[in-house]
């Protein structure tokens, strides 16, 4: 039981760390695509770790099943949302930071 608690809190702390780093990245990163990348960290690995940590706190009852379903649903929808967001931006003609810089260089030359 004691080991389970330790593993569970490790997972939860790791999840919180990734969630926070995603939030920091969202504010600090320079352009749209890197920000989407940072935001997608919160709804993929952070969610996975937090739900993993919570799963170890349950005693394999209905709550376990519910948590598993929530995890599965978030794992399907989170990355899809990030992907759709980035792809729509790309289709809309948004350039990455490197591409914008290359274009500016070309213009300067």
């Amino acid at each position: 039981m004691f080991i389970l608690d330790i593993v569970s809190s490790l997972l939860l702390f790791a999840g919180v760390f990734f969630g926070l780093s995603g939030a920091v990245g969202l504010f600090k990163f320079p352009d749209f695509f890197t920000r989407v990348h940072a935001a997608s960290v919160t709804d993929s690995i952070a969610v996975l770790l937090i739900i993993g940590g919570l799963l170890l706190q349950t005693s394999f009852d209905l709550n376990t099943a519910k948590l598993l379903f929530i995890g599965l649903f978030l794992l399907m929808t989170g990355p899809t949302a990030s992907h759709a967001l980035a792809k729509s931006a790309r289709h809309g003609g948004l350039l990455t930071l490197a591409e914008t810089k290359a274009e500016q260089k070309e213009k300067a030359n």
Partner: protein, 327 residues
């Protein structure tokens, strides 16, 4: 710890509201409204009001955001500069606010345990509803049985909203074949695949919320909104025309009044059985069984109406946007 969480959530709520006031970009405002609803849902959860939180998350953060985005697609995303002086509105707001604050002076002190609401109605529900209605979820007992007449009124209000939108906008006809190719996310293979996986799950969850409302958080309002969200997701990803063929607007126009009538007919039936309007005790020989039948049927009526109304309003907005885009 709980107080700290409440305070942080409330502070975030206030910040979001202040940000909404000062922004001119309406697209951001709609997103902030959605965040605002999610924050209030979180506060409701921390106050142990899970049913309200569920409704707030489904209606406030879900459907209203979609409807407001659809409106923005028609009206444009920046707020117009006001040309009038803001002095008169300011005075009106101040006077109204002062009157409201003055009005609250007569109200019982906030949160005091000897307030009238904590002495009469609430203890009555908590003590008697397990014997009289016998549902584990007391919120459903109050909403559907004790306050059944109020809930009928709410369902009629939702129905009236649909009549208003359909009268003003109507669902614009869209050509079947050619235009069907132009809408939806054809290039988004991942989005389409995941939507195919998720839509049946959303419908299943809506049915669970509908019929599990007696035992856990949920009920007709939430279930109707979630089911409508499934079809809206389908319309957004695969295009409006296929969605109009799956659930036709005409069918919705039948479905919405059907839900209200189903609800009201339970009331009329109980009157014919010799009871009062919406007196579920008359529905079966055993009063408790009668209560259960009544609640399941009226929740179904609420769910059907809410589903039909939400989807019709979305169709009305989306078909206008679509028609404008094709031209």
């Amino acid at each position: 710890m709980a107080v700290l969480i409440d305070l942080v959530l409330l502070a975030m709520l206030a910040l979001t509201a202040l940000r909404v006031i000062f922004l001119k970009d309406l697209f951001t405002v709609v997103m902030l409204f959605s965040i605002y609803s999610f924050l209030s849902a979180a506060i409701f959860v921390s106050l142990d009001a899970v049913d309200v939180a569920f409704t707030e998350a489904a209606v406030g953060a879900g459907i209203s955001t979609v409807l407001m985005l659809a409106t923005l697609a028609m009206t444009g995303r920046t707020e117009k500069e006001s040309e009038h002086s803001s002095l008169l509105p300011l005075i009106v707001v101040f006077v109204t606010g002062a009157a409201l604050v003055y009005g609250t002076l007569d109200m019982p002190p906030f949160g005091a345990p000897d307030n009238p609401i904590h002495e009469h109605v609430a203890p009555r529900y908590i003590e008697e509803s397990p014997k009289e209605v016998g549902l584990p979820n007391m919120v459903t007992s109050v909403l559907a049985s004790y306050r059944g007449f109020d809930t009928l009124g709410e369902t009629v209000v939702v129905f009236a909203a649909m009549i208003g939108v359909i009268t003003l906008l109507g669902v614009r006809r869209i050509g079947r074949q050619e235009e069907a190719e132009t809408t939806g996310f054809i290039a988004h293979e991942v989005l389409r695949t995941v939507a195919k996986l998720v839509i049946p799950l959303i419908v299943l969850f809506a049915l669970y919320v509908q019929f599990h409302g007696d035992f856990g958080p949920g009920g007709g309002f939430q279930a109707g909104v979630i089911a409508a969200a499934a079809i809206i997701l389908y319309a957004l990803v695969f295009g409006l025309s296929p969605a109009l063929q799956v659930v036709a607007p005409k069918f919705l126009m039948l479905l919405a009044p059907f839900g209200v009538l189903l609800y009201a007919s339970v009331g009329v039936y109980s009157m014919l059985q010799g009871g009062n309007f919406l007196d579920y005790n008359q529905l079966a020989a055993d009063p408790i069984a009668g209560q259960h039948y009544g609640i399941i049927i009226i929740e179904l009526g609420v769910g059907i109406t809410v589903f039909a109304v939400m989807l019709s309003i979305f169709y009305a907005f989306a078909s206008q946007v679509e028609g404008a885009n094709i031209k």
